[in-house]
Symmetry: C2
Subunit: 154 residues, 2 copies
């Protein structure tokens, strides 16, 4: 299933469930502003240096791409009430640069569901995310590990 | 060695080299502003909801902690000229919440150095980072995979 419905709890999800977000366009100012605070490498904040780099122009910080991709999938509301935060992420790969004007959307898929043995009200969701650009090229993949409440109202 | 010197190239680094940053204090407004843009879960942006959550108060988005921890280690200048960007990250773990007023610093360690077989001017650096709070508790660990130029001037 590809779902756009909202607000699942762990017991309502199953392996293979998919969620797809809307898009977000990376502007020059958003790329420079984020990177100036968190990742001030020349190819993220200096248009002239970026043109002379391997990338041929400004590209978004990978941390910016990650943060936007998470916001987009979270904004679908798929675990709006049930999320209890995340213990981690595995195998993040930045596959292609995100340039000024690129539009990114997120596609998420449930990979693993593991109810906690010690705490019956919660469990671990492993959730694979692919961020795609406007040419449907994967620019980033990652697996999130998220602590999720099992049942509505519990 | 624990280094505070700057601007290494891949051939100048060796496994075990360590770098330590200064600190950064997470304020309430920085936590809320970052999360409102990228990770608007209630326990990151709503002080009242956060007080009633498992966390007992506002905590920083993990993406915020990650971005700050990278900025702090990058700011040491350890690969200022040589970094060509990052293919990815492995095994990120958020081990403890970062609350309002917590001060985080980064300790990085070279774990693996692999010159490229196809491109003699560069190679892959695997760099393990631990973010520590003011009580010296690890709040996050992650391994960065970074593409680094091998030699100065090459």
């Amino acid at each position: 299933m590809t779902a756009r419905r909202q607000d699942y709890y762990l017991d309502e999800l199953k392996v293979g469930d998919r969620f797809e977000s809307g898009g977000y366009t990376f502007t020059e100012s958003s790329i420079i502003d984020f990177a100036f605070a968190y990742d001030p490498q020349p190819f993220h904040i200096d248009a002239d240096a970026a043109r002379k780099s391997n990338y041929g122009g400004l590209i978004a910080s990978g941390f910016h791409t990650l943060s936007v991709a998470f916001r987009l999938i979270y904004q679908t509301g798929f675990i709006r009430s049930a999320s209890m935060g995340g213990p981690g992420m595995d195998e993040l790969r930045w596959l292609k640069p995100v340039a000024v004007g690129d539009t990114i959307r997120s596609v998420g898929e449930v990979r693993e569901i593991a109810p906690s043995k010690s705490k019956p009200d919660r469990g671990i969701l492993k959730f694979h995310l692919t961020a795609l650009n406007q040419r449907d090229e994967a620019v980033m993949t990652v697996t999130f590990i998220i602590l999720v409440k099992r049942k509505r109202g519990a």
